[in-house]
């Protein structure tokens, strides 16, 4: 198994969230506690002819409220979300960007589809008028790395590696894990990590083609669940070493205790119970945490028949048949793709500090094959110390992050 990386302890001191249930950290936290749903008919693209029209869009987002250096109109929607969330995270950490700019950093953001709305528009131009009529400004901004370089340029951070993790729907956890290692190993003083994605017609079509879209609501672990609702948003966390946070008197939200990543290497879309279980064990080992210490699991929990039952079986394998509550934030947020595990990680931290377990909404009757306490419909007051956040992706790419209450001393 993975040797636990010795090195600096890593803490979360800033967070920013752009989501369908709230823009801004406070709004996001209140919505998680209230169990709000982002699901509504799509406005970003034409759903005529599709079997359903429900998506989880971000509404009421004014990019200019957060993006000051760059012209928001020149950024794609995923870059806007991520840049706004990064600005929020830096503010939340009580840092001036100028102070960050003097230090060595890493900006690593996960995405599944990048600027998918721009790619759709470019394709529409091609289909309607021919390829010579594509808009050059869209062609220039669709490379996904631009999401990370936009954050760096907005905040004036030149001494950074800026890259995007393209590992589909677990990419947010990949980015957080990469940030954890970078600080543990002393390769960065701070990390801005997370994920971002925008809804698009192409993504909506692909998931419908796979038969994985629920027509009205996402019901993870429910006996009548039918699939995902595609969503969008961004979550960005600011990580630094515990030592660095203490030296500047920063408020610490939580500690990133560990993570694990692996690949099923089996099937392009169907998850593997054994491999998913192995990834959870890698993460718990890396964190130095025993399963019985985990207060709840933030599941990948897509709401598809196959994911939920496979994930719950794997959880029971790892937790010796006695798992803690297993919740899915996708019931509220929809499947925000590359942002999903980043927003869920932020939700986990808010649950640690706010002493509650977020609910799994839209729930009617738990599928006996899932057989977990999913905290149905209503948030539960609870003081937990350790949370496990799962992220899985098509391609069998798994990443699991373990977060803990920060007590300022060795656990």
């Amino acid at each position: 198994m993975t040797a636990q990386v010795a090195g600096r302890r890593v803490v979360v001191t800033g967070m920013g969230a752009v989501s369908g249930i709230g823009v801004g950290l406070r709004e996001f936290a209140a919505a998680l506690r209230a169990g709000r749903s982002a699901a509504a008919p799509a406005t970003s693209f034409d759903t005529t002819g599709f079997p359903s029209d429900v998506v989880c869009e971000v509404r009421g987002f004014a990019a200019g409220d957060w993006i000051r250096t760059l012209d928001p109109a020149r950024l794609g929607r995923a870059a806007q979300f991520a840049t706004a969330a990064a600005r929020m995270a830096v503010q939340d950490a009580g840092l001036e960007p100028e102070a960050l700019a003097r230090r060595r950093g890493l900006v690593t953001i996960g995405t599944t589809n990048g600027e998918s709305q721009d790619v759709d528009e470019l394709t529409s131009a091609d289909v309607r008028h021919g390829p010579e009529h594509m808009r050059p400004e869209l062609a220039r901004r669709i490379p996904p790395q631009t999401i990370a370089t936009s954050i760096a340029r907005e905040l004036g951070l030149s001494d950074v590696d800026a890259r995007v993790i393209g590992t589909a729907c677990s990419a947010g956890n990949y980015a957080i894990g990469e940030g954890l290692d970078a600080i543990r190993l002393g390769l960065a003083d701070y990390v801005l990590c997370g994920g971002s994605d925008a809804v698009s017609r192409k993504t909506f079509a692909a998931f419908h083609r796979l038969g994985l879209v629920d027509p009205d609501a996402c019901r993870p672990f429910d006996a009548e669940r039918r699939g995902i609702i595609t969503g969008e948003g961004a979550g960005v966390l600011l990580l630094e070493s515990a030592e660095h946070a203490a030296a500047r008197g920063a408020r610490v939200h939580a500690e990133v205790l560990g993570y694990g990543l692996n690949c099923d290497g089996e099937h392009p879309v169907a998850p593997s119970r054994a491999s998913v279980a192995r990834c959870m064990r890698l993460a718990l080992d890396d964190a130095g945490v025993k399963p019985r210490e985990v207060g709840f699991i933030s599941a990948h929990g897509t709401g598809t028949k196959l994911n939920d039952v496979t994930e719950c079986e794997a959880i029971r394998d790892v937790y010796d048949g006695r798992p803690p509550p297993v919740v899915s934030l996708k019931s509220m947020l929809g499947h925000t793709m590359g942002a999903a595990s980043a927003l869920a990680a932020i939700g986990c931290v808010l649950a640690l500090t706010g002493e509650f377990i977020p609910p799994t909404i839209n729930h009617r009757q738990t599928d006996p094959d899932c057989g977990v306490d999913c905290v149905p419909n209503v948030a539960r007051a609870a003081r937990v110390d350790v949370v496990q956040n799962n992220g899985f992706a098509f391609g069998g790419d798994n990443a699991v992050v373990v977060l803990g209450r920060y007590a300022g001393r060795d656990r």
Partner: protein
Amino acid sequence: MNDTTAVVTGWSVVSPFGFGAKSYVDGVLGGDIAARPVDAGEVVLPDALACTVRGLDPAAILDGKGIRHLDRASQLALATLSELVEPGLDTGERAGLVLGTALGSVQTEMDHMRASLRARRPHLLDPKTLASGTMNCAAAQCAIRFGITGPNTTVAGGRAAGLHALDYASRLLAAGRADRVIAGAVEEYTPARAWLTHHACSRRLEWLGEGSAMFRLEAPGAREPLAHVLAVTGRVAVDRDLPAAVVACARDVLDRAGVGAAAVWAAIDAGSSLRERAALAGLVGLDALTRVPGAEGIGDTGAASAAFAVATALGLVGRWPEAAGRNVLVMATDPNGAVSGALLRLGGA
């Protein structure tokens, strides 16, 4: 951003010069040019010439269904990996794969949207191509076809994607998350990429190219290294002054490696502008910058550009006796402001 030495103990490429390292090194050192007329049938292309990989037939290399329906980037990656992977060594739970990309297979993404606009109903996409619709398809296919079940990561890093992959892979090794990692990058030539590059005016060389380069990285000790990866780092030109950022990034790389600019024997840039090259020459000297032939003959390989520059450096080992033990600096810039650099010390000394 990696100061912990990893070593390269194997590599392979699939390039417009052919399959495998030898054809690539022969082509680069011989100054060959792979540009040929391109024809996509009824699909209009913005290019008359391009440097494409001919004779790519993954089904001839790999058994298994579905290979022909994969996107071209995935096919190129699989063909490259098949030349490098050693079962047992590069496979299993302690082996990882990190693949750099710029746009994924943007052709597949656009094909899906095209189908959505044209089909009888908007979700009736071709189910055989759905797996290729996300950026991680190539890396995941590599894991599935070869049984690489450790870390599997796709890094979008523009022209420098191969250097981001080296950095990320080195960190996986340093953190103990894998014993061996294959890292590299892949780029496809497709009508979608050709048009997007054309409209973005982001082509840096005369023709577009494609291909893939991959490197086996591990901790020093197990096998005779082809090169030590002394340092990899990046930065962002927030003021858009790329030449200045190239110099700052190169200085960072050298500082981290503890190597002076005068000790850079060769610098290879992955398709930089003239101003960026001039700035780099000011730091390392014109001799270093012109010592090694460029890979212009395979065209602008986009996401694979920096990976091919690394391949060129490795290709000198054993070919040029004077290259043994020398420091080679690889630099890559991107129009979005990202700059990356890596310093390799060649083996064979």
